[in-house]
């Protein structure tokens, strides 16, 4: 591994970091004796997508859940817009790996569930939900129940639910890992468009190197036991090219190789 290259990418990350929406400062998390995260700090630039990438068991989901306020950090703090968080908040919305849809509720109720919990009146929340149902391409399925949908469609419901509460930070926990390959590719393209159009900050956990490089403005590589950020990579050139050219770009392929060479030692 070329050390100067790591320093380079790290230096870049710091330099571009002008406006961060989410700051993770010296966060540690212990489960009894087990140290899951140790003194982890990371900045998430506003309006961009940051991936947390690492081998399984490296604590990326733990970090995401701490940012979500679903888990408490043992020490350290999370700031969103300079304000320290103490639990879940209306500035964040979560997309779950297993979709976490209510099986007894139809698509409309599932999408509007976040608004329902916030006490938004029924007609208003259904108007908002309708908009996001059509945004994710599920028009006509409002009355369908989750078990009647394919995996890809279920995750579109989960995505619409997260978008409809209009949080400025979107947390995605391996959202496409339970979705088939073709749907996953479509999702990745849609996600890029979403990052471009919605002025939101995305934090994206994945175990797929290609997926991380394809969708991210910034990739944080986490190494396990205990977890810390080993490098931060910011792709430069191919972000501005069209989606159909990304996988052919030399920079894309180089970064994928570079990440694999640093992760391969940690894969059992």
């Amino acid at each position: 591994m070329d050390m100067s290259q790591i320093k380079d990418t790290l230096g870049d990350a710091q330099a571009v970091d002008i406006d961060s929406a989410v700051s993770v400062r010296n966060v540690s998390k212990n489960y009894g004796e087990v140290e899951a995260l140790r003194d982890l700090s990371l900045e998430f630039p506003r309006g961009q997508l940051t991936s947390l990438l690492g081998p399984s068991g490296c604590g990326k989901t733990t970090l995401l859940k701490i940012i979500a306020g679903l888990l408490d950090a043992t020490s350290g703090e999370i700031e969103i817009d300079g304000k320290k968080i103490t639990g879940p908040g209306d500035d964040r919305a979560f997309v779950f790996q297993d979709f976490a849809l209510l099986p007894w509720a139809n698509v409309m109720r599932n999408v509007s569930f976040g608004l329902e919990l916030r006490g938004v009146a029924k007609s208003e929340r259904e108007d908002i939900a309708q908009k996001y149902i059509s945004n994710v391409g599920l028009t006509g399925f409002e009355k369908a129940f989750p078990h009647e949908l394919s995996g890809g469609m279920r995750q579109r419901v989960g995505l619409a639910r997260a978008l409809s509460v209009d949080a400025q930070v979107l947390l995605l926990d391996e959202p496409f890992s339970a979705v088939d390959e073709q749907n996953r590719r479509k999702f990745q393209e849609d996600l890029l468009e979403l990052v471009r159009n919605e002025n939101k900050t995305f934090i994206f956990v994945t175990h797929s190197i290609e997926e991380a490089v394809y969708v991210s403005d910034q990739i944080a590589i986490l190494l396990p036991r205990p977890s810390r950020v080993s490098e931060v990579i910011r792709p430069k050139e191919f972000r501005s090219t069209g989606v159909e050219n990304i996988r052919r770009s030399k920079e894309y392929l180089d970064i994928v190789d570079q990440i694999w060479s640093s992760l391969r030692n940690y894969v059992e």
Binding site: F94, F96, A100, L102, P103, W104, G114, L117, P146, H147
Partner: protein, 252 residues
């Protein structure tokens, strides 16, 4: 829908046909045919004696079922939500479920007399344990990711209980209610046979003592029909309250 109706009728014809044949063989002189039993049931319906009997039997039955359902679901929720209450209450219901009830009835009679209270107790002891234990385990097995989803979308504890835990537990709670209520029907008849012969229990005891077996089987048949109708009604309530329940579950 039509197909399932046809199958249901077919199953009824097979059972009643077998009953009729067994009565005609006869399997025992104390076993009447299906037609004889239905004639006795018609006679009891026409002279109104079956209604008088049910007016008596339904009192402990409905009271016991209502108490078991509300207290059972309430206790079950409590036990399921708190591990401390699980240790406190769960053994009581496991014991109650396994206890030979008929042998305990004399103790109940000594404590509460031969009136309505004892009979309600018998219905509750039969019906409640399975309702409590089912509710508790259903609540405990609420998918963690659904509760997490609720919390991340700012649900209060009350929202999580009412909008996530209870609906998620409802299929198993309703399964417990079905089992508990059928046990309650058995308990009601058992109490009328073992404590004091009243209502339907009286018809059964009296017709047996005068060897009027068709009337005896008619009374038993009627209580089974009532239980089936009641359970069907419960299924309707479930389908109405939780529309998604009878449509399968998200599996992956």
């Amino acid at each position: 829908m039509n197909r399932s109706l046809v199958l249901k009728l077919l199953s009824a014809i097979i059972v009643f046909g077998a009953w009729e044949i067994a009565g005609r063989v006869p399997v025992s002189y104390a076993f009447p045919t299906f037609i004889e039993s239905m004639q006795a049931l018609t006679a009891m319906t026409l002279n109104g004696s079956i209604f008088v009997a049910y007016a008596e039997t339904l009192k402990p039955l409905m009271l016991g079922v209502a108490i078991s359902a509300t207290a059972g679901i309430g206790l079950g929720l409590w036990i399921g939500l708190s591990s401390r209450f699980e240790w406190l209450f769960s053994p009581i219901f496991v014991v109650a479920q396994a206890a030979p009830l008929a042998a305990l009835i004399p103790i109940l009679v000594m404590a509460y007399g031969i009136g309505l209270t004892s009979k309600v107790f018998v219905v509750c002891i039969m019906a409640m344990p399975v309702i409590v234990l089912n509710t508790a385990s259903a609540v405990r097995n609420t998918p963690a990711s659904l509760k997490e989803m609720g919390r991340s979308f700012l649900a209060t504890d009350r929202d999580i209980l009412l909008k996530i835990i209870i609906p998620a537990a409802s299929p198993v709670i309703f399964a417990g209610l079905r089992l508990g209520i059928s046990a309650g029907f058995i308990g009601a008849i058992l109490s009328e046979l073992k404590i004091t012969p009243t209502g339907v229990g009286d018809i059964i005891t009296f017709s047996r003592s005068i060897a009027d077996y068709p009337s005896m089987y008619a009374a038993i048949f009627s209580i089974i029909v009532l239980a089936v109708l009641f359970l069907n009604g419960l299924e309707r309530v479930e389908a109405y309250l939780f529309e998604g329940n009878n449509r399968g579950y998200v599996s992956d």
